[in-house]
Amino acid sequence: MTSCLWSLENGRAKGKFVADQGIHLKDPLLDYRPMANKGYDANKPTTTMCHQVSQKDVIMRLLFVDGSLYLKGNPAIFHGYLDDQFTQLQKLQDESNPDFVVEVVSLFFEDSEKLLNNLTRALEQQNVDFRQVDAHVHQFKGSSSSIGAMRVKNVCVAFRNNCEAQNHEGSLRCLQQVKYEYSLLKNKLETLFRLEQQILAAGGSIPIME
């Protein structure tokens, strides 16, 4: 039976960890991002512990190694949705920029809602101005690739082809598709952030999922 007690003190995780002999982790730190660190105590034995928490279809694994907390999102959930560019953003987050990823993603959400509204209106017109539509899609393609949203970006590529061909029906189909992909991604990211917040705020204990 493993147990874990940790709390946040001045934004740093401090706690007492009990070794779980059953866990053998191969290269445990690969793909994990440090969330919070406490000073290493040379008097305590090395401890490693892995917990899993989940909400909807987002699974997070928490790894405690030598008192440091590492967080790993289930890669399968994001496979195909977010590419390496998202990992680049996570690397830019640190103590001096603790909310960087959330901020950039929020900017992306704001930008996207506006763009999708503009696109909807532009395609509702009697005489569609395809150059205007293309300009919006170009912007959406740019911002989605800057956060690594590859599925959204790929729909934008097809969308631009339809604009170039002045294909109204094709463009409407792409609009529908891009709205769908965007809402899927938004959902996953919001769940991920909410879960991270809950984990960080959970002073006391982390629920252990079997």
Binding site: D27, L29, L30, D31, Y32, R33, Q85, Q88, L89, K91, L92, D94, S96, N97, F100, E103, V104, L107, F108, D111, H138, Q139, K141, G142, S143, S145, S146, I147
Partner: protein
């Protein structure tokens, strides 16, 4: 001093910590300044944060004309990250104008597509280098290394 990104870190990640010389071998020799020219707010934010983390004083503008105006008013930047497609004045035009003014700063172009023809045309305007956006940590370190060696 050398800027380098270590990919042999035991964590499997290139971490950035300008206080720590260990993982990424980055030490700013002198106070470098950079100008990010891009109409996309998100890209500006990402590039600004990246450069700031690497110890570079950074400013951002949303089109080529604003960049040219800044230089004309006497501001100077060691590095310009120039987006290709922008309203009002695009990257190639702004680059040409800056070079015509005699600006010798390092100008690095960024394009949204990895098309050789596009990159070559942009390079022809007077760029030192051209990348696909957004720039990664490793890209930025390579650029800053070159800047420091000049």
């Amino acid at each position: 001093m050398v800027f380098g990104a270590s990919s042999s870190s035991s964590k499997g990640m290139t971490s950035i910590d300008k206080r720590n010389d260990g993982n990424n071998n980055f030490v700013a020799e002198r106070n470098l300044s950079a100008l990010i020219v891009d109409d996309d707010l998100i890209v500006r934010r990402i590039h600004t944060t990246l450069l700031t983390k690497l110890g570079v004083k950074t400013q951002g503008v949303e089109n080529g004309k604003k960049a040219v105006d800044l230089f004309q008013s006497g501001d100077f930047f060691d590095l310009v990250i120039m987006d290709m497609e922008m309203p009002v004045m695009d990257g190639p035009e702004a680059t040409k104008q800056l070079r015509a003014m005699g600006i010798g700063s390092m100008i690095v172009g960024v394009t949204s597509r990895n098309l050789e023809s596009e990159k070559q045309a942009f390079m022809g305007a007077g760029l030192n280098d051209c990348y696909v956006k957004p720039l990664t940590v490793d890209d930025m370190i390579a650029i800053l290394n070159k800047l420091n060696n000049n």
